[in-house]
């Protein structure tokens, strides 16, 4: 029971609860309009965004699943290509770099909702990478094994041969940095980031799709941007 003294004065207005409910409602509904509004706004705000140091607005987020990030040593690093191939390969970093070079500018989308636009990639198309090994006709799937144990994921050969999929060793004009998967990572802009395996050290050509790290945890195997994972 409210005593008369506790009753707010005549001229009082409940701005406190209005502010609380207003901001809460704005925030909750933004789950449905936030990204669209942000995309519209960031077109306008891009000059501002570019002027800010990337340490404050990095765009990228670094996801890892192991307790340490793999370290790249050009002297000892090897990329193995094996499985259903005629000639298994072991490539050094220099041998990889001497393969036909491809480059592209593409957008990167994470399944959790963030994106980085206009990323400049340099690397090798999968058809050029696999040419020497010669996949057998039964080999229709590429399994990418990361040096970050136990991260692994797959692409069908058909997906890997999309025009803008590659094994990248350069990002934005520089050798791939450690947190982005040095020395090589998968880039497949049509699919969410978790299919873009970092720190690739082994490519196994197989005849069946095994669930990757996140797919074992409920993510879709085919991770096409905007058409998978409930998005």
């Amino acid at each position: 029971m409210e005593t008369p003294q506790e009753r707010p004065p005549e001229d009082s207005r409940p701005y406190g609860r209005r502010a609380f409910l207003g901001v809460t409602a704005l925030g909750l509904t933004s789950l449905f309009w936030g990204k669209a509004a942000w995309n519209a706004f960031s077109g306008v705000a891009r000059p501002l965004e570019n002027a800010l140091p990337s340490s404050i607005f990095p765009g990228w987020r670094i996801y890892t699943v192991a307790s340490t990030m793999p370290t790249f040593d050009p002297a000892t690093w090897r990329l193995r290509i094996e499985g259903l191939v005629d000639r298994p390969q072991t490539l050094t970093y220099d041998q990889l770099r001497s393969l036909p070079r491809a480059q592209q500018i593409s957008d990167f989308h994470c399944v959790t909702g963030w994106s980085v636009d206009h990323v400049h990639w340099g690397g090798v198309r999968f058809s050029d990478l696999l040419a020497a090994a010669g996949p057998q006709s039964a080999g229709t799937v590429l399994q990418f094994v990361s040096a970050e144990y136990p991260y692994v994921d797959t692409l069908t050969l058909q997906q890997a041969e999309l025009h803008d999929a590659m094994l990248a060793y350069e990002m934005d004009g520089k050798p791939l940095s450690r947190e982005h998967g040095a020395p090589v990572r998968v880039v497949i802009p049509e699919m969410y980031g978790y299919k873009n395996v970092k720190w690739v050290e082994r490519i196994v050509v197989t005849d069946h799709v095994d669930s990757g790290y996140w797919e074992q945890r409920g993510y879709d195997i085919d991770a096409f941007v905007g058409k998978s994972n409930g998005l």
């Binding site: 406190g16 936030g34 399944v111 409930g230």
Partner: protein
């Protein structure tokens, strides 16, 4: 106030003690539990968010656990304090925070009007903090469950969680400035640590509240 010409300054209020009780134990516990959780969540969140820090610290799965567990502990702790603390007092406080009288509205337009136990800016800060707590919790839980179940995944969840962090940082800087640096307001820190503040200071900043407790001589 200075209706009696023979005395001056605070000496005229002979019926008031040197200190006045401003925040209950429940209120202070709420404040400090929230503050401590915020800093742990901010620190671990930034390690998950900023590539330079992610690279430096590594051990993402561990940092992620710290972030989740702290978030969970924070929600449970806040609920426990409300349940086991002085709920009657909290209800009164919420009513105080909700009500903006004419003086509050004028104060927000930067007119020097007398204020209650909370000034209008503190009332707005409380509303914003409460609503941010709800939004942080909801978007955090969605991020967590969305990792396992598509029906919890929204394209904008992470944008909301990050946006809240940026706005909170700005508000926090203002809050820390007023609580630790700005000379005329920083005495308030004593209130939220020990519970009481100097009556003379309170009369200057929250005169309606002090007048209510210790009516000035007519």
């Amino acid at each position: 106030m200075a209706s009696n010409p023979t005395v001056s300054g605070s000496a005229q209020f002979t019926n008031q003690p040197r200190h006045i009780h401003r925040f209950s134990r429940t209120e202070r516990t709420l404040h400090w539990v929230h503050a401590a959780a915020f800093f742990v969540l901010l620190g671990s969140g930034l390690v998950l968010y900023l590539p330079s820090l992610s690279g430096l610290v590594g051990r993402r799965p561990f940092v992620k656990d710290v972030h989740f567990d702290t978030g969970l502990a924070w929600m449970v702790a806040i609920a426990l304090i409300v349940l086991l603390g002085d709920r009657r007092g909290l209800r009164t406080t919420v009513r105080e925070l909700d009500a903006f009288d004419r003086d509050d509205r004028l104060w927000l337009r930067r007119l020097p009007r007398p204020q209650g136990r909370f000034n209008a800016g503190q009332k707005l800060n409380a509303a914003l903090t409460a609503s941010f707590a709800v939004l942080f919790a909801v978007s955090g839980v969605l991020l967590w469950y969305g990792e396992r179940n598509n029906s919890f995944r929204f394209a904008s969840t992470i944008l909301l969680h990050d946006g809240l962090m940026y706005v909170s940082l700005v508000v926090l800087v203002g809050h820390l400035y007023l609580a630790l640096i700005y000379p005329s307001t920083r005495h308030a820190l004593r209130g939220i640590t020990t519970g009481s503040v100097r009556t003379s200071w309170a009369r200057e900043h929250h005169s309606k509240w002090v007048d209510e407790r210790y009516p000035p001589p007519k």
